[in-house]
Amino acid sequence: MSGAARVGLTIDGRPVEAAAGASVLKAAEAAGIAIPHFCYHPGLEIEGNCRMCLVEIEGYPKLELSCSTVVREGMIVRTSTDRVRAARKDVLEFLLAEHPLDCPICDKAGECLLQDHYGLHGRYAGRMAEVRERREKKIPIGRGLILDRERCVLCTRCVRFLRQVTRTGELGVFERAVGSELGLAEGRPVDNDYSGNLVDICPVGAITSEDFRFRTRAWFLDRRPSVCPRCARGCAVVVESVTGYPLAAGERRVYRVTAGVNPAVNGHWICDLGREGRREIDEGRLGAVLRKGVREPGLAWPGAVAGIAAAVRSVPAAERPGGVAVVLNARLTSEELALARELFVAGLGLRNVFFAGLKPGRADGLLLTAERMPNGRGVLEAGLSPRPPALEALAAARVLIVFGPYLTEHFEAGALGRALAAVPAKFLVSAHAGPLDRLFDAVLPVTVPAEKAGTYTNIDGLRQGFSRAVEPAPGVVPEGAVLARLARSLGLDIGDADAR
């Protein structure tokens, strides 16, 4: 913090230091003093319309907004005097005068700022004699978002997000006074790849997501941080799942993926592609070892790994460098890639180690990168070269080990099928079921990134460690365990402990 000027002030009798130009609210938060607020969001410009963050500042005749007042040397701030408390009560009374008693059916209940603040600063006995305004309760505003105008407290976080972050400006506040309401500008629906953030930033339940709507309650969810594996940016995400396991048929395990906070990478936002990542954790997963595309009862993954090891051993050591081919992918963690290098390149001396992956998409200039595999930099750091697979080399192999279902991204199905038919022993290690399953001798089910711990290096070279965000689905193991066991079966002495 050298260089930036620091300012000393007193908040609630406590000496606090803050960067010059910071708001009183930020300074208080940094000192562990919570000031209630709705419209203030650290990722957006200050608006100061909710009037919830009023504090008493010595020398000012009236209460001041802590979110928009800049700290000054020697400032004396009080956040919990009777005057401040009374003001908060009055502000909340006005907000709640028009707020429906929807908590039982509101998705936001349990993580709602209005509920939290009411618990601390509420005027519990209502004195509203007038009839509440009735407004529309279910307006689709595009991208699976539903607007409830009764619940809206007009904090304009969503309006500011769409103007300042995505710069698409679909939403606005229309009409005046009690008639003010949130609406779509020119009737154009919300249509941008960051729309899911509106649900996260809405401090009440005014904007909810169709995908999550009514599925569960916020307090049942176990929230654990992870790193998004859907592009090379490596945004911080929070995987929200139910802990009780196994589940009844049709029940969801991961209910949603929301934005985590990482100022160095994504700030407070993630894209909708990352949010949809919840589907790949739950849907289309392999749960048991397959042989020629059919479930093989009684064959657990150690048995399948023994099968791979036997196939590799059947190739004479002198012919292995050309006879055994491996296809890796950049979704493997750096630890697993290091293990793969030790095993396939240093240990077996293979010449044909390829990398398959998703086709690059379109970068949107905000967070989403064109590269759609999360650990491309990690591949280089591990000392591997990201060569795309060559069909002739695959077809010429006597043993083929493929990690991930990405070969279909590189070759069309017919040619790939013919090439694989020429390989006498072929094994697939994959988290998801796919068209490749029946082409391989055996398919091993493995974890998705959210189910394992490891390190990804993002497109800017930032190495990010993450830990397990969801308990693994039944019957799956991390790729690292497969690699370590394969190495042990082949008599190679490489870091077994690193795999776990």
């Binding site: 908590c103 209940a109 009514f214 309650r217 049942f220 009844a248």
Partner: protein, 155 residues
């Protein structure tokens, strides 16, 4: 040897107590038949299931979901009963309701009576007074496990 003697002694003592209750009660009931008022009455046995004791108004019996005007349950699927249930016996699946005034309704509301401890917390937690335990139904025995998972959202 002394252990066996103690056992015989205890059996005889127990039989004596049972016999005493039998003769005392028989004597009291016989006196009652002849209209003699005694200070103590004979023990009362209810001949269940032919004869039933009335249940207290606050007695907690099998759950029910109170219907709305149109017969559908008034439950809004807020899952507070699921949250509060100490036996974790309630499963609620919510669905969108076509009525905009209702919005959220249960697609499935199951109480697993195998696990329910009849504490009545669900009744207390319900914000819309939808679940009640006032059916008076206490004969819940069954030989089929599936019978204990009761769907309350449909009759």
């Amino acid at each position: 040897m002394s252990g066996a003697w103690t056992a015989v002694k205890e059996i005889l003592r127990g039989t004596g107590i049972t016999a005493r209750h039998f003769f005392v009660n028989m004597g009291l009931h016989t006196l009652g038949l002849f209209g003699v008022r005694t200070k103590r009455r004979g023990a009362v046995t209810i001949q269940y299931p032919e004869v039933r004791k009335p249940l207290a108004p606050r007695h907690r019996s099998l759950h029910r979901l109170r219907p709305r005007g149109d017969g559908r349950p008034s439950c809004v699927a807020c899952m507070l009963c699921v949250t509060v249930c100490p036996a974790e016996c309630i499963t609620v699946e919510a669905a969108e309701d076509p009525d905009p005034e209702v919005q959220k309704a249960p697609a499935r509301f199951v109480v697993d009576l195998d696990r329910c401890c009849f504490c009545g917390f669900c009744v207390e937690a319900c914000p819309v007074d939808a679940i009640r335990m006032d059916t008076g139904e206490i004969r819940l025995a069954s030989t089929e496990r599936a019978d204990f998972a009761r769907r309350l959202d449909r009759p």
